[in-house]
């Protein structure tokens, strides 16, 4: 049997859609881990990235951080905190936030740092205060890149929220690790299918979001380029 016949057989079984620990519940738990982590990371990283981009201070640090963070093995960080903190929510929250911060930070920095100096001068000449320049000119122009950073981080936390189940929490990974432990491939295959659907939904969500929040003038400009 191919992978998809296992996965489809499991996902379409009605019993997996009802009762405690069913698919909707675990998907919600999964999105909960991912969403909370992404939100905290965004609250920390967007202002920091914008500040670095606006002032130019700390730029070297930010760029190097972007290169270094990919080397961190998520699974290692997760099990380390699981062992050191035992069963604390911090053991899933900290690794997910740590992994979501760099892409958001770097893209916010690059977006703001890349604003055309002519546009900056114009904003200055029009009498805008520094705060107005940042909030009304630089951030809107940087918005497409800020969204790319958020999308990358979202993809990362949705993927990583899977292995949170390995240290005893819920989420879609529950099906995968329970299935592996019982040598039962159907929930493993089905769980992976649910994950892939979630990943595609994240991409679609951000594509729609980009259409809604990026200023129309910027969109038009990009198309004509």
């Amino acid at each position: 049997m191919s992978y998809f016949s296992y996965a489809w057989g499991w996902v379409t079984q009605r019993v997996n859609w009802h009762g405690s620990g069913d698919i909707p519940q675990q998907v919600l738990a999964h999105l909960g881990y991912a969403g909370v982590s992404l939100l905290i990371a965004a609250v920390i990283a967007i202002p920091a990235g914008v500040a670095v981009g606006h002032t130019g201070r700390g730029a070297v640090f930010v760029v190097n951080l972007a290169n270094a963070w990919r080397a961190i093995p998520t699974l290692g960080l997760l099990v380390l905190l699981a062992v050191e903190l035992t069963f604390s929510p911090l053991s899933w929250l900290v690794p997910l936030v740590v992994l979501a911060i760099p892409p958001i930070l770097v893209n916010a920095y690059e977006g703001v740092a890349g604003v055309d100096p002519g546009v900056r001068d114009a904003a200055n000449g029009a009498g805008m205060t520094a705060w107005q320049q940042v909030t009304r000119v630089e951030v809107p122009i940087a918005l497409p890149l800020i969204l790319v950073g958020l999308r990358t981080a979202a993809i990362f936390v949705v993927a990583t929220a899977t292995i949170v189940a390995y240290i005893g929490f819920g989420g879609v990974g529950r099906f995968i690790f329970d299935g592996l432990a019982q040598y039962n491939f159907s929930p493993v295959a089905g769980g992976a299918l649910v994950l892939m659907v979630l990943a595609v939904l994240v991409l679609v969500f951000f594509a729609v979001l980009a259409r809604l929040v990026v200023p129309a003038g910027l969109r038009k400009q990009r198309r004509s380029e």
């Binding site: 290169n67 990919r70 998520t74 491939f185 994950l195 990943a199 991409l203």
Partner: protein
């Protein structure tokens, strides 16, 4: 941290480090080998690039553990499985860089090469690809570091690497093993990254040494 663990397990540590290096480095290199023809094709026939980029973006969004699982029925719980999955991720990172690198070659350079009598293939190999090397290697660096780090996830389906120390350290609540895994994976990634920086310098002697 239990330091006496290290000397008594040094041969295991070395073996798992080699497994990790093999999984990570091979996957990134396979990704490069597949990305080059695909990227050259996408740079030449522009209609091919947008759909290919969409496929690559979706593929890259799929969690590693899901990709390993999808490959189990055909490839089993083997290191081939993990290598194929990591090769696909590497491809997602390197392929857009190959296209970007080739697109960034100035038209004047291309026309000069043609004027000097270079045919399309010779121009590609001797002029365009060498000029695209910095961008391609930038992609390869990301792919290699990510592959080395991600290979530890393969341990969850039983493919041995330094990830073994994460699983075993967790099951025995023995942080020493987890620290060993973390430090060695990060060190391996940094070393491979430095090697690639060196390769780029050798291949692009005309560039500033930054």
């Amino acid at each position: 941290m239990n330091w006496s663990f290290i000397p008594s397990h040094i041969s295991d540590i070395w073996q798992y480090t080699r497994d990790t290096a093999q999984l990570g480095v091979l996957s990134a290199l396979f990704g490069l080998v597949i990305s080059l023809p695909l990227g050259i094709a996408a740079a030449r026939w522009r209609w091919f690039y947008p759909p290919a980029l969409t496929v690559v973006n979706v593929l890259y969004a799929i969690p590693a553990i899901a990709l390993f699982i999808v490959l189990i029925p055909s490839l089993g719980l083997t290191d081939t499985n993990v290598t194929v999955a990591l090769t696909l991720y590497s491809l997602c990172v390197i392929f857009p860089n190959v296209v970007a690198g080739l697109h960034a070659v100035p038209d004047s350079v291309r026309q000069s090469a043609t004027a000097m009598g270079y045919g399309a293939l010779r121009r590609l190999v001797q002029v365009e690809l060498p000029l695209a090397v910095p961008v391609i290697i930038a992609g390869l660096r990301v792919a290699m570091v990510s592959s080395i780090s991600l290979s530890s996830i393969g341990q969850l389906i039983g493919v041995y690497s330094l990830g073994y120390y994460f699983i075993d350290g967790y099951q025995r609540a023995f942080p020493t093993e987890i620290y060993i895994g973390l430090v060695l994976i990060i060190a391996l990634a940094v070393i491979c990254d430095l090697v690639l920086v060196g390769v780029r310098r050798v291949l692009t002697p005309w560039m500033a040494r930054s």
